[in-house]
Amino acid sequence: MPRTTTLPFPGLVSPDHRERPLRRLALGARRHAAAVAEALATPLVPADYLDVFAPLRPGAELRGRVVAVEPETADAATIVIRPGADWVGHVPGQYLRIGVDVDGVRQWRAYSLTHGPRADGCVSVTVKAVPDGAVSPYLVHRVRPGTLLHLEQATGEFVLPPSADKLLFVTAGSGITPVIGMLRNLFPVADSGVVRLPRSADRDIVVVHLAPSAPTSIFAADLAALDEAGAIHLVSRYDDTHGFFDVADLAELVPDLAERSTLACGPAGLLDALETHHETAGLPLSTERFRAAPVVAGEGGTLDFTRSTTTVESDGSTSILDAGESAGVLMPSGCRMGVCFGCVVPLREGAVRDLRNGELTTAVPGETPPTGVPIQTCISAAAGPCQIDL
């Protein structure tokens, strides 16, 4: 009679009688070792000690170490990162969220991967420094090889459609980054030049690339090389030589536009215009946006306590703690004056102002940690609509 025993780990069912005791023994030993390690490390966990020596080891939180910083233009650079052992790889076009400590503060930002799978196992992103940006100028100008970064696995839907052979890429400025990742994967460059692989033989690709001027255009040389090798057909439009681009010109630049699937990445204005254009024309379009709608900090706002399903209007001088309590939300609190941190809760989205010095703290999903930005409710007032995880 066949018997199966379910082992303590779901999904692990041993079908073989002879194997079972051995495997059970091994599993048991591993569990015991883990229990002993935990008992030795409490109140920390063994990982806290291992992280001191091997932050990129298997089983660690995903991190990466900067291997090289390669300048691309005056204000853009490619950051080559060796990811931790648990990195599972990516599909070109996807992006990676990076947690980086800038001026001591952990910031999370998304960056598109700018290559296919690399032989050295590293990953790279190309960052354009946004003036006054918190993170991008740091990554372009200040980060040094050896720096440890926090990573999440690659994600994103902006990848090559498997079926469509006739493609149009519309890219503007740093919006070229996910596209260059896809193109490099299709057409690797060897010492001998662009390599044509069977997997890209049937692709017919047009790239319309927009930038303020030729020298500021990241990957301009790469695109030109691909065009020269006949891999793609490149249409570059520079604001300083061709004037500002208008979506209506697209049909002229790409005569067979109607036969192509469009993938676009660039500033919101361009993408909005393209969406309207393609919708009217009934053409397929897929876009990647680099920036969610910005948080506009105001005075006061609607507080949405998501787990208590309570919303309350609050002015710019009432603490979120007071506002929440008066609306009947069970708010954690302590000193009510900013010293004990007994009132800290995660702000998922929105902006709050420190009642003591007016300092603004914002939470933008996708940029700030997925768990939210911790705020002290007793000294923070709403500065715009807020979603609070409580």
Binding site: D48, G104, G334, F341, G342
Partner: protein
Amino acid sequence: MTTITKKPINPTAHLTPEDVEQIGVELDAIRQDILDSRGEQDAAYIRKVVDVQRKLELGSRAVLLVSAFPPAFVLGTVGLSVSKILENMEIGHNVMHGQWDWMRDPKIHSTTWEWDNASTADGWKHSHNEIHHTYTNIVGKDNDLGYGIMRVDEDQRWYPFHLGQPLWNFINACFFEYGIAAYDLELGKNLKVPKEKRSEAFKNNARNTLAKIRKQATKDYVVHPLMSLPTGSFVPTLVANVTANVVRNLWTHSVIMCGHFPEGVETFEKTSIPDHETRGEWYVRQMLGSANISGSKAMHLMTGNLSHQIEHHLFPDLPSNRYAEVAPKVKALFDKYGLNYHEASLPAQVGSAWHKVVRLSLPNGWLATTNAKNLPGQLKLLSTMATGNRKVRRAAQARLEQLARRQSQVAKAA
């Protein structure tokens, strides 16, 4: 010492309400300076301390694996003691204050940190950060350092059992981590409540604390010694762990005593605190209710920068590595407003705090009026007070006061 409002000369009497608010404004400005310059170097500092502490702990534990060899025992014990002190003081206490929350690093954050101590992070954050830091030195409200079990103020009535106070205090020092856990639970108060009537919150906290104590004890007194068994070092490792915990307890107890207990640090009456204390008033209470320890950089580090107790109480959420920098500015402010910046060396502060423990274990005025000549008589009086009823005590107390008056007249005449 007497609460500030009952003193013949109130040390804040010369301050106008405007002065008090101005002190608040100036202290806020000092705080803002640090917030504005807080950054990469501060983050690097705390990460370095955490890194060093973990390596020191691992190194010491590794050495203790062969602690049957006496030099290894000594080295491992010293290392483990230092590492436990660093973990509790410069790291745990300060992280749990939220001093490093601005880094947004979930691994060094007040909401996630758990420390190497019998009391749970949650319990500690409540009793220490909320109660103690908000109601600092308000008699009857601030439970810190045994206000529940000790006589800390002349205004608390003296009972004979207070004679044992120096001993209780010493025992509390040796087992300080459990003492803290008990304060956090308000054990005394809660155990008086009949079992079936105890609050759910208390039962929950008690369960969590017991679980934590069990884990801590298993780690230090069972698992680590067992790891040393193969080299025959079980017992030395056990002894090393006990020693390290006691050393840490004695050290933290001393540092904390120095913070609020030395002679001359002010205490406050519950009724003297306005319902809506202004930020300035709160600041002034913190200024007078704390005492600093002067000393070397290493000493500041080992006290978790609680040697800058005054600065810590004014700005509990500023990173501890910056207290040394604000101290001169704070001191200048004390001078400007004619307030006493209480600072002395570690031995002087510990001595002063113990002097107070002893003085208050005795009836008011007893220690001050006793000298070599009148010792036998004084001892007799004390024993009458210790064994007599309330009436006897009251009469004896009156005699003590009379004696004190007479002695001061003689002193004046001379």
